[in-house]
């Protein structure tokens, strides 16, 4: 537990309401990931604090997306991928054999790089998760969840009068917010975002960033981003990955203003990347 306390000390000053659970929601210890014979992540130790935005940054191929996908076991889909080490969600090993991956992914939602709404209506896109997880017992409850999710995702005003139209007919930024609404409809604890704004224009990006800041109240967010400005804008904690190693992690402000490691320094000043 000492480890957790030291990890949290940087962030503790931001939130010190007594009711808040200060234990990290995710703890990763000595995580190694291999794609076949190639090692993609080497001994990663990282804690994800609750109700904060943690951003994972680093040059392409550094393993930040791989790490993100370990957190809800999306890497299981890659046949040659092998994960070693220990990742705990609320103190539970998520790679334990008795773990139900479906339940894990219900608690740890995901938003992808390219907006990928289902080719169904806006309503069905959001209702899909609650339906398969049996979260509602009546149509009106489901209607409430759809409305709540769209409102949290800031999309309700734009689409409330056309819920039956296809989700794929929305603009790119709206589609991505629809995907966020879809992710929060099953009330996850954590939302993983894999470069959610890389396919969007600056205005849509700004909208999503505001949204991330609002969602922080209810959810823990882990975001992978290529943009250091974005990491600085939206996150409270930042982890810098380089060549499969976790180089440095800390409060976002500290990491960007006075990095400890030379590689971090080089990356944020644009000398490597």
């Amino acid at each position: 537990m000492n480890n957790i306390v030291t990890e949290m000390s940087g962030a503790a000053s931001v939130q010190n309401k007594p009711a808040v659970n200060k234990a990290p929601i995710f703890t990763a210890k000595n995580v190694d990931v291999y794609y076949g014979a190639k090692q993609a992540l080497d001994k990663i130790n990282l804690d994800i604090p609750r109700n904060k935005v943690t951003s994972l940054i680093g040059p392409s191929g550094c393993g930040k997306s791989t790490f993100l996908r370990c957190l809800n076991r999306m890497n299981d889909l890659v046949d040659i991928c092998r994960v070693e080490g220990d990742i705990q969600l609320e103190g539970q090993d998520i790679y334990a054999p008795e773990v139900d991956v479906v339940a894990l992914r219900q608690h740890v939602g995901m938003v992808f790089q390219k907006p990928n709404p289902f080719p169904k209506s806006i309503y069905d896109n959001i209702a899909y998760g609650p339906r398969i997880h049996g979260l509602t017992s009546s149509k009106s409850e489901l209607d409430d969840i759809v409305e709540w999710s769209l409102q949290r995702a800031g999309l309700w005003k734009e689409v409330s009068d056309r819920l039956q139209e296809p989700g794929t007919g929305l603009s790119g930024g709206q589609q991505q917010r629809l995907c966020i609404a879809r992710a929060i409809a099953v009330r996850p604890e954590v939302i993983l975002m894999d470069e959610p704004c890389s396919a969007l224009d600056p205005i849509a990006t700004a909208t999503i960033e505001e949204l991330i800041d609002e969602l922080r109240e209810k959810f823990t967010i882990v975001i992978v981003t290529h943009s250091m400005q974005q990491a600085a804008r939206v996150s409270q904690r930042t982890a810098f990955f380089h060549l499969g190693n976790l180089v440095e992690t800390g409060a976002t402000k500290t990491l960007f203003t006075s990095p400890e490691d030379e590689r971090t320094q080089n990356y944020i000043t644009g000398r490597i990347g």
């Binding site: 809800n72 889909l77 046949d79 939602g109 995901m110 992808f112 990928n116 080719p119 398969i132 296809p166």
Partner: protein
């Protein structure tokens, strides 16, 4: 002065020439293939249209109580009554051979036709009535003009005498041409004027139904499992290669397999749509599997990720999201496979569906013919009139195929979704 953008260099000339050349080669290829198609369909339609109409000859028959007992109609010898009426129409015919030729103007079914008309309308009884009967195939060919009357007598089947009778009938308005309903309501027959396509059509429909209900579910399950769930290893590669090979196996081999396995080992009834459908489904399976796998592969992986990321199980992700998106492609592949099966003759010959079947089958365990086999049989028949029957059967087969393809297009449009 020419600027640097307009100078006609040698390179530019050869480049432009090659583009023009390619364009014309392409147009030529399309024109040639269209010409072949028009030639084929055109010649079939020209030949087959004769079979869509048939000739009738009117004969006055005395239906008074002298000839038919109104209380016991079935006791009448309708054949001899018909023959008698014909002799009365042409009283000058006396010799035995000529009489036989005279009877030959009408179809051999003449007695039955008379009986059916009387039973359908008993009010005809009581006096002489002018009734219409199907002309024989040879008379029909002369009446329809397919056979030239001015041809040398030895080069045609109808003698001058018979033609003179037909002309007498024509002058007394006793011949008629009308739409050939028999062709669509009768089964096969030795007599061309009575032969119809219905038994073959029903046979084909039943065979294809068996083929569809066997191959579609098996192929879809196999394709979905192989594409979405099976581990990618040596074994699945081996299976994939073999499915592709299976699609290239000549169809007669499947026929032999059906003969050896289904008929000899399992003792299923021969010549039946059940066995035909099973054999054809062996052939269609690889086609549908390959088409279904291709369209499953074409579904963007982002849809799978989205579903799995939402916490859908792999089966839910597949059946809620991936399979519906692949459905149009799967259906098109299935109908292409079915269309292939519809036109397949060789395997059906091996399992005995080439037998002469005059009855219209009503279940999958009754002997039946199939459209392509019927075409094969008629093309092989010696009577001149079967030539146009053959073409007409081909037209029916082509119409069937076009309908299936239209269905494929309709289903495609109906289920297609943008993503």
């Amino acid at each position: 002065m020419t600027s640097m953008l307009t100078t006609p260099t040698r390179l530019r000339k050869s480049r432009e020439a090659s583009e023009t050349r390619f364009k014309w080669f392409g147009r030529g290829a399309i024109a040639l293939s269209l010409a072949f198609l028009v030639f084929m369909v055109g010649s079939i339609i020209l030949q087959g249209k004769g079979a869509l109409t048939t000739s009738e000859i009117a004969v006055t028959v005395d239906l008074s109580a002298d000839n038919i007992d109104p209380n016991d109609i079935e006791a009448t010898s309708f054949d001899s009554l018909m023959k008698k009426s014909l002799r009365e129409t042409f009283p000058e015919v006396t010799s035995r051979g000529d009489k036989r030729k005279l009877y030959g103007l009408l179809s051999v079914d003449l007695g039955f036709e008379l009986r059916d008309q009387i039973i359908a309308d008993p009010s005809l009884l009581g006096g002489p009535q002018k009734l219409w009967f199907t002309a024989s195939d040879d008379a029909d060919l002369v009446l329809s003009g397919t056979v030239d009357r001015n041809l040398d007598e030895e080069n045609r089947r109808m003698s001058d005498l018979e033609i003179s009778w037909l002309e007498t009938l024509e002058q007394s308005d006793s011949t008629n041409r009308e739409f050939n309903t028999k062709f669509f309501t009768n089964g096969d027959s030795r007599e061309p004027e009575l032969a119809g396509i219905l038994s073959a059509l029903m046979g084909s429909i039943l065979t294809l139904s068996v083929c569809f209900f066997v191959s579609f579910p098996i192929a879809i399950l196999a394709a979905i499992y192989l594409e979405e769930f099976a581990p990618k290893n040596r074994l699945s590669q081996f299976i994939e290669v073999n499915i592709n090979n299976l699609a290239a196996v000549p169809s007669i081999v499947f026929g032999l397999l059906g003969l050896a396995m289904l008929l000899n080992t399992f003792g299923l009834p021969r010549s039946t749509p059940l066995v035909g459908g099973l054999v054809l489904s062996l052939m269609t399976l690889p086609t549908i599997i390959i088409a279904a796998r291709a369209s499953l592969r074409a579904v963007p992986p982002s849809i799978r990720e989205a579903a799995l990321g939402m916490g859908a199980s792999p089966v839910q992700a597949t059946f809620h999201h991936v399979a519906p998106l692949a459905l149009p492609g799967i259906l098109t592949g299935t109908i292409v496979g079915m269309a292939q099966a519809l036109g397949e003759t060789a395997p059906l010959l091996m399992i005995g569906m080439v037998a002469f079947i005059a009855d219209v089958p009503s279940s999958i365990v009754e002997p039946a013919a199939a459209l392509p086999v019927q075409i094969f049989l008629w093309a092989d028949a010696s009577e001149r009139a079967f030539v146009e029957k053959t073409s007409a059967a081909i037209i029916v087969l082509l119409v069937f195929l076009v309908l299936m393809n239209l269905m494929a297009i309709y289903l495609r449009k109906k289920f297609e979704k943008r993503f």
